[in-house]
Structures are given as structure tokens and as C-alpha cells.
């Protein structure tokens, strides 16, 4: 099976359709290099997440230190502070955020692990029962969503519960849902037309995926950036 995948992956080289001329050639090449390198993509995805988590911890630490520094005696209960800091963002936003995070993981799974061109050894086609089933793509997505559910349920509460989010920011976070759906749709399309690879779709799916990840983590980054001033 591995041999077959490698053959298919090798075959794609001659079937690549050029990306549209919307993006300058140099940048296109750079991005193509970026999105076709699975390990780099995976590392970038995880790095953004890890950075978000680290910055969130830093933000919380900074807040604690600032409150302590402006409090007589410098002693503040961390639990009490966390309780005071927590903001109800609203059920609609929470639902949108959880959905967006689940879609983020699903889009990531679809982008890197649906077709064998990025990770020839680890992908959907490695499971013949799934790949040849009528609902294979959906089942694949469902498994990814299940895997992501735990993280998606935890992350929005932790990442957004302690930041004042403007309505514009909330709308932007909500809009990552449709953007990620587009990314998933484009990846699925790649899966159905594979081994032909439409580079423009691939690029768009990649940009949608990482732009959404950045947007979802933006409240944390913005707070950390502002806090550095």
C-alpha cells in the first residue's frame, strides 16, 4: 500500500495545475513550498497553538503580577482573581467558538491527512476500509471532530473567558467557521480529484486554515503584544 501511495504521490507531479495569477510568483512558490511540506505545516500549526498557550499563561501571569503589585501587601488569591477575571462571552459566541475550533482541527486533518501527497505514509488512503466506503470522507471528518472535541470544548473557554472581546472580534472569530468550512471543502475536493492536484485550491485551503488559526488565537496574541508596550 505504501508503495502505491508513493507511486500516486509521484504521479501527481505531472498533473499539477498551476495556481492562478492572483499571488506574485515568488510568494506562490514560497507558499507552495510551505504547504506541501507536511512536517513544516504540522510544526507551524502546533507552534501557533503552543505559542498561544504560552502567551495565554504569560498574560494571566502578567495580570496577576500587576494586580499584586498594585495591591497592599502584594498578596492576591489567584483563584479569586481568576474568578473576577472571567467574563461571560455569551452562549452564541461560545457555540461559534467551539464549532470553529473543531472545524480548525478537522480542516487541519483534511488538509494534511486526506490525500497522500503530503504525508505519504500517514493518510486516509492508508485505511482501505474507510477510503473505499461511500461515506469515507465524512467518517474521516467525524473521527477528526471526535478527537478534536475535547480540545475544542476546553480551549475557547480558557482562551476567551479571560479577555474582553469586542463584538467585532467575536464576529471575526465566528467567521472563521465558514472560512474553515471552505478550507475543508477545498481539501475534500482535492480528495475526490486526487491524484490531480489543483494548486490554487490547495493554496486557498492552506491560507484559510492558517489565517483561521491565527484569528482564533488573536485575542491572546493581541493581549500579549499590547502588554509588551
Amino acid at each position: 500500500m505504501n508503495g502505491l501511495n508513493e507511486t500516486i504521490a509521484g504521479a501527481q507531479a505531472v498533473e499539477i495545475s498551476p495556481p492562478s495569477g492572483l499571488v506574485p510568483q515568488g510568494l506562490t512558490n514560497f507558499l507552495a513550498e510551505l504547504y506541501s511540506n507536511g512536517l513544516l505545516g504540522l510544526a507551524l500549526f502546533l507552534l501557533l497553538l503552543a505559542l498561544g498557550l504560552a502567551l495565554h499563561r504569560l498574560n494571566m501571569k502578567r495580570t496577576y503580577e500587576r494586580v499584586a503589585a498594585t495591591t497592599k501587601g502584594g498578596e492576591v488569591s489567584r483563584d479569586e482573581l481568576r474568578e473576577e477575571m472571567f467574563i461571560r462571552q455569551g452562549a452564541n459566541f461560545n457555540a461559534a467558538a467551539v464549532t470553529a475550533w473543531m472545524l480548525l482541527f478537522a480542516a487541519f486533518g483534511y488538509f494534511y491527512f486526506l490525500t497522500p501527497e503530503i504525508f505519504p505514509r500517514y493518510n486516509y488512503y492508508q485505511v482501505p476500509a474507510l477510503a473505499s466506503g461511500p461515506l469515507g470522507f465524512a467518517a474521516f471528518g467525524f473521527v477528526v471532530l471526535l478527537l478534536a472535541l475535547g480540545a475544542a470544548a476546553f480551549i475557547p473557554r480558557e482562551f476567551y473567558g479571560y479577555y474582553e472581546l469586542s463584538r467585532k472580534m467575536k464576529v471575526a472569530i465566528m467567521l472563521t467557521g465558514p472560512v474553515l468550512a471552505i478550507s475543508i471543502f477545498l481539501s475534500v475536493q482535492q480528495g475526490t480529484t486526487f491524484p490531480q492536484v489543483e494548486q490554487a485550491s490547495r493554496l486557498l485551503a492552506f491560507l484559510a486554515l492558517f489565517a483561521s488559526e491565527l484569528e482564533l488565537l488573536w485575542p491572546v496574541y493581541a493581549e500579549a503584544l499590547g502588554g509588551m508596550r
Binding site: V67, S77, G90, A91, N92, E164
Partner: protein, 512 residues
Amino acid sequence: MRLCIVGIGGCGGHLAERFLKNQDLTLLKKSLGEHVSFGGVKGLWLEADVQETENQDFFGPLDRGCYPGFFIPHDVIGSESKTSKLIVERYGYDVKKQGFMRQAEFLKAVFEIFESDEDVKRAALSEHESENPILRSAWDRIRPYTTLAGSKDNNNGSEMCDGILFIISLGGGTGTGFVNPVTRYIRSERPAYPVFVLGVLTEEGTDPQQRAKEAKRDLGATISLYDLLTKRVGVGVDGVIVIDNQIMVEKFGQDYSAIDDYIHQAMRPFVAGRHYPGEDPPSLAMREKFIEGLDRPPVLVPCYWREKRIKDPEENLVKRALSEGRLFGCDPARAEMAYVFTRGFVSLDKIVEAVARQTGLAEDRIEPWRKLGENHADEILILLRNPYGEERGCEVKGNLEYRLHRVIRMALRYMDDPESNLVSEGMPDPTKRALEDYFYGDGGVRDRLKEGLERIEKGDKPFFLDERRIFERSSRDSGIAELHGVGRKVGDDEIRRLVEEEVRKVLAERGI
């Protein structure tokens, strides 16, 4: 502290909308989840004009379960109501009138009738199971958001409001006329429940929206302020936060939407949640601080400033708030106390020291409350208590005395203008007599406003002294009885003599 925001009248509605705006996402203005307002505040809009409610889409009818909702209190009186007819026949007032077009005395008179006329009380009781159905229905709509709600509405008290902030325009419309009676009504149930008022004094010149002349609006403002500031603590409100729209118009032009946004922004440190740990006072504590040492509600002048976070922001924040951020002209050095609300990271000691330095107040006269901020900005709202009282302060432009002196002078000018027609010919005689006496009689509004002007000129505090009613006082009022229009005035000595005679008679009958 969690406040119930009650906008009354047009201006109150616009401002309440800012406070109650849903922070959650909505789809086509519909929210599937619970409404989440900034600071967790809840509230509603009380309006008298049906058309006003139709010209907006933020508030829905409260009685259809909408939130945020509006409510038209006088709708509880049916068009064929006996009570309504009785009031029209006897006093000439139509309680079903749409809006009040800068006539502060209109609602004042209507609610006094409900409080003092036994026949009206009886009629209302038989028809509506309440002596004062308009106020009762209004309070019934407000109460569920408060800690006074019944067990059905009260979510263990945790999410309920422990105080009320009425938002009104001091222009003589619905807000002006409604706020005093409804506060009185609430007080009759809970004398110590915290009730604050945010009143916006309309700008100088003709109001471009309602085309009401300044003098007319100023009479409305004066009557409203007079009534708000002369009620005893425990009868009236616990503090009147005043904002001068003239200052706002100078800042934002005629962009009323931007003005409303700014007023809301300025009040955010007051209503915000996210307190510094251990610094979340209940509204009751705030009330106690506001009225400490006073027997009448204080005037509170808000001074607001916001700036990007810097190291040691305290001095600059206080300085800018007191100089450039005053929402009503005043002399901060004349303040009796300062209540400081901050958002951001500020030191308690430094903020108190800064306010003390800038105002000359003793540190124990400064009450700071801190909250966590947002978006790398620090904010401050300083409420200065009664920041006036300088002899001839009314001649200093930018002082509270200067502005109020002008407002009262304009009100008096309007009263003396024969065209103002304050005592309308078409009214029944008892009403005409009562209004004549209220406005122009011995000890009437004109006399009292003149006295108020003199007190302002001399730098006396407070500038308004005794409450004045249009009709006879009701039995609920704990104040000194005054008769208007009928009977004669009875002096303290005469009352004393009559009581002594009665006591002597009773003792003699019992053989003592």
C-alpha cells in the same frame, strides 16, 4: 454591585440601549442564548409615547416576553377607564396622553393626584387592584430584575441587580416627570434600596430634535432637579449624576449617537464587573457612601478619562479627568467627597493621593473602587459629590453654579413669559388654582427658585431646600403637610396649640 438600568423617556431609552446592548453574537438581531450585557447589567425602557417605541428596533414589548423590553406604564389604564375619566373631569389631565413634550409638571400633577385624591385612589383600586396602577405596573416590570424579585424570578439572587440606575433627560419630558414618582413608589416598599439617577441636562439653545425652546426645557430641568434634590434620604434617590449635554455638544457636535456612546463609555467604570479581588461593594455600600452625612441626595459630577496603559498612570489619569474630562462644569476643589472608579492596573494609595492632591480633599473623603481593565488602557471615573458652593461662583464660567444659575434664570424667565401658558385656561378650576399656587403662589416654585438663585450666589449648600408639591400631600408622604389651592396654611405654633388642646381634652376625659 450589579445595577438595573432603567431608561425613562426618549433620551433614557437611547442611553439604556448602550448599556443593555448584547455582547454576545446575534444573527439577524436574534440571539439564541441568554442576553449578555456589559457588566452583567439588566434593565428596560419606560416610555410614554407609543410612536417612540415604534421608531426603534432594539427594545421589544416587555409584555410579549421580549428582552430588552420597553413598557408603557400608562397603558394599564384603559381608554374607557373610570379612573381616567375621573381624573380628566376633576383635574383636566389625560393620563393616556402620548408623550409629555417638555411639561415636567404634567406627570408630577398626575402622580400627585393618584397619591392624594381619595376618590381616584378608590376608583383605581376597584379597577386595577392598586391605588396607583401606573407606578405599580412600572415597578412590577422593574422588580423582576432586582434582588427584590419574588422567588419565581429570583435566580438565587446571584444574577439579580442590587440597585437601580434611572437614566433620564432633564428636559421636562417623560424621564423628568416619571423618575421622582417611581422612586417614591419603590421607596414605599423598600426605603433603603439603592436608587441612583443619571440625568442629562439638555444643551443651550433650541433643541433641534423636539424644537423645544431652551427656557421651556430649563423649567422642566429645574422642576425635575428640584424634586430630585429636595426629597429626604430614604424618600428620594441616593444620588443624582448630572451630565451637561452642552459640554457633549461642544465635543461631538450634534452627533447624538456619538454623545450617547461617550456617556456610556464614561459610565463603564461605574457599572463594570471584574473587580479587584475583594473590592466588589454591594450597591447598598455605595449608597451609604453617597449619602454619608447628608439628609438630601447629592449632586454627583462625573469626570472621566481613558488613556493607553503607562507605568504609574494614577497622577495623569486623575489630572486629565478633573481638568478635561468633566461631564458637567464644576470646581473639583469644592467637592465634599470623591468616589473613584478605575479600570486597569492602578495603585489604591497612589490614586487616593492623586485625587487628594488635585482636589484638596482629605484622604478619608476619597472612596476608590478598582476594576480590571481591557485593551491595554486605563480608565478613571471620578464622581465628585456636590462640587459647588463658592460665593459668586455663579459668575465663573465652567462652574456648576454658573450653569445651574443660567438654567434657573431661564426657567424663571419662562415662567414669567405670558406666552408660556403654564396655567392653561381650559383646565378645571381646582387644577388652575393648584397650578397657580404651585408656580406663582406664596412659597411657590417661583419664590423657591429665586431663593435657590440667591443661595447659589451666596455659595450656600444645598441650593434647593424644601420639597414643593402641586396638590395636597398624600398620607404616604412623611414630610410636613402643605395645602395648596384649598384651605389655609397652618403654622407650626398653631399645630402645636391644637395638639396640646386635644391632648388636654383626652386627659381630662380620662380624669387624669
